[in-house]
């Protein structure tokens, strides 16, 4: 039996991109994962498992997916794309930049539309950046300097589990130190409070008069020094419970709250007692903290981009950050989620000038979200074929969009089985990039990192990049340009 340990492995799951994982490999299988969160661990331990993967390319014949050779599948995929007049090439966030580069070349060659998953997550954030800009920094800058950290409409504990520990509240930095002690103190009190609450839970009145869980419960000395964590969300998430200030905003009223904060930062008094369900007194106190810090940062999530307001919400959050720079140093960053979606935006941008929703049907890159974004194309029923790479739109797009997607020829390249691959006409299984194939990916703050190949892929499976190159080659053959 052979055992080896691989260090400094980058986790290919969320935008935190922890690159300090340590994997133990026994007989070509990953058996132990050190330093990862539950999500990271699950990925390395279970994702490569053969039972939820296609091991052979599949082609649909008589309504059933049947095994095919790689050559057949590639040829069929190339035919689908070459014959279509307006194909969409979608996904890209779960693969490496090297594959994305080939994907864009393919989209250009077939005159299709290429879009990545940002279109349904931080697409509005990207559009807001195009409106007003973005003062941002790398995560290490936050670790070293931030004394106020705001999480707005995001849930790092669930979506980016190590974000807080590695970059914001809990790590030590050059100018700031870890807040573990404060958190543990509060956590102890929280547990106590929960016990009391449980005991009294039959008495709603008593529950109502218990003091809110806020900073008043800490010794003032413990509070004054060090970083402060502010959480703004519609739900009391786990990170909210760790916060020094929690602002529970009414669903869909972030815009109003942002406006109120902006006014307060500019020294304008509010004539009301409550905004978006939040007492103005609390807002005033929070704004005081915000303008008197040395370095503040706002991390915002899909709660802002996906609810009422969308682009306007993010515009305003960025504007608020810009205003705050009159008072002290403030930066803002989207909590980019999925694996390499940031890298997809980067590659799209350097090759085509635009971060997503790029239409090549005119022979050059054309971009107009709302028109060239994939959900809109599907809702209009314009596309006549699709290639989906490392993504699962059937599971994540609204029903009406999926209806059109599956009506037309559908090619899927994905390492694992998914709802989308079950609906496909051609499935080409690939190696897991970051586990079975190497590549490059971008952290949420645009720091590029290498992805390692730590084990061999199942026999016969190639990387996304290799498969795409084969399809591109085949398309060129069909078009007589190879």
């Amino acid at each position: 039996m052979s055992t080896s340990v691989v260090q400094s492995v980058t986790c290919p799951i969320c935008g935190s991109f922890c690159d300090d994982l340590e994997l133990t490999i026994e007989d070509g299988r990953i058996t132990k994962v050190k330093n990862a969160c539950a999500m990271g661990e699950a990925k390395f331990l279970y994702a490569p498992d053969l039972k939820h993967r296609w091991l052979k390319p599949m082609i649909r014949k008589d309504e059933e997916l049947v095994e095919a050779s790689l050559e057949e599948a590639v040829k069929k995929a190339a035919e689908v794309l070459a014959e279509a007049s307006y194909p969409i090439l979608y996904g890209w966030s779960s693969t490496c930049c090297e594959a994305i580069r080939v994907g864009i070349e393919l989209a250009e060659e077939v005159g299709g539309v290429i879009d990545n998953t940002a279109t349904v997550c931080h697409g509005p954030s990207l559009q807001a950046v195009q409106d007003v800009g973005l003062p941002i920094c790398t995560l290490g800058q936050v670790r070293h300097r931030a004394d106020v950290i705001v999480y707005w409409a995001c849930n790092p504990w669930e979506a980016h589990p190590r974000h807080i520990e590695r970059y914001t509240y809990f790590p030590d930095g050059r100018f700031q130190s870890s807040m573990w002690r404060r958190y543990l103190t509060r956590w102890g009190m929280l547990a106590q409070r929960k016990r009391i609450l449980r005991a009294l839970s039959t008495h709603p009145y008593i529950k109502a008069i218990l003091p809110p869980l806020a900073r008043y419960e800490l010794s003032p000395e413990l509070f004054v020094k060090g970083r402060k964590l502010i959480v703004i969300d519609v739900r009391r998430t786990r990170v909210a419970e760790a916060a020094d200030y929690f602002i529970q905003v009414k669903p869909g009223e972030d815009y109003e709250l942002l406006q109120a904060l902006r006014a307060l930062v500019r020294g304008i008094e509010l004539e009301v007692d409550e905004v978006a369900g939040v007492p103005v007194k609390l807002l005033e106190e929070v704004v005081d903290v915000m303008i008197s810090c040395d370095f503040g940062v706002i991390f915002f999530g899909l709660g802002l981009t996906m609810s009422r307001g969308k682009v306007r919400n993010v515009d305003l959050a960025i504007k608020l950050t810009e205003d705050l720079n009159d008072r002290s140093k403030w930066l803002i960053a989207p909590m980019r989620g999925h694996f390499n979606v940031t890298g997809a935006n980067a590659v799209f941008t350097w090759q085509t000038g635009y971060p997503f929703a790029v239409d090549f049907s005119r022979g050059y890159p054309y971009y107009n979200p709302g028109e060239t974004s994939v959900v809109d194309i599907l809702l209009r029923g314009d596309s006549d074929a699709a290639l989906v790479v490392a993504s699962d739109p059937v599971a994540h797009f609204p029903k009406k969009a999926v209806e059109h997607l599956v009506k037309n020829p559908l090619v899927v390249i994905d390492p694992s089985k998914s709802a989308t691959s079950l609906m496909a006409d051609v499935v080409i299984p690939s190696a897991f990039v970051g586990i079975e194939a190497e590549g490059t990916a971008y952290r949420m703050d645009f720091v590029p990192l290498p992805l390692k190949k730590v084990v061999e892929p199942p026999a016969g499976l190639l990387s996304d990049e290799e498969i795409l190159r084969m399809i591109l080659h085949e398309v060129r053959k069909i078009k007589g340009v190879a």
């Binding site: 279970y46 939820h52 279109t119 519609v234 609810s307 709302g370 959900v375 809702l379 079950l422």
Partner: protein
């Protein structure tokens, strides 16, 4: 006395269970268990008269889907229900993109009711067959 229908705001999103179970296969039972769920405030559940683990039907202007009711761990959020991203949530979200390319995944007006006996929770394949005629 419990209500027969509860008017709520539907929020869909990521959860760590979904994140973890996804890696066990997107057509696996774990994944199914974690995303075919509706996370509700216990008070709401009481009002509706549903118990943990019972089936509820969530209906919006855009569709209707049966999922399992579970008590939310992060309370209170009365009047708001949460369904993790996945094929079940997608049946009921608002496809309108208001010309920025992105549908509404959060803040969708919805109704929750106890699911009738003859409407069980569909498995992934059943769901795909029912709604898209393939899978």
């Amino acid at each position: 006395m419990s209500l027969s229908k509860l008017k709520v705001v539907l929020v869909t999103g990521r959860s760590i269970e979904q994140g973890v179970s996804k890696e066990r296969g997107k057509i696996s039972d774990e994944y199914f268990q974690s995303v075919a769920t509706c996370h509700m405030d216990p008070d709401d559940m009481k009002e509706l008269g549903v118990k943990e683990g019972a089936n509820v039907r969530v209906t919006t202007e855009f569709g209707s889907v049966v999922v399992k009711a579970v008590k939310s761990k992060r309370t209170p959020h009365k009047g708001t229900v949460f369904i993790p991203y996945g094929p079940w949530a997608s049946i009921v979200v608002n496809p309108t993109t208001s010309s920025v390319g992105m549908p509404y995944f959060k803040g969708i007006p919805a109704e929750v009711e106890v699911a009738p006996k003859e409407e069980p929770i569909l498995s992934l394949r059943e769901l795909l067959r029912r709604h898209f005629g393939r899978g």
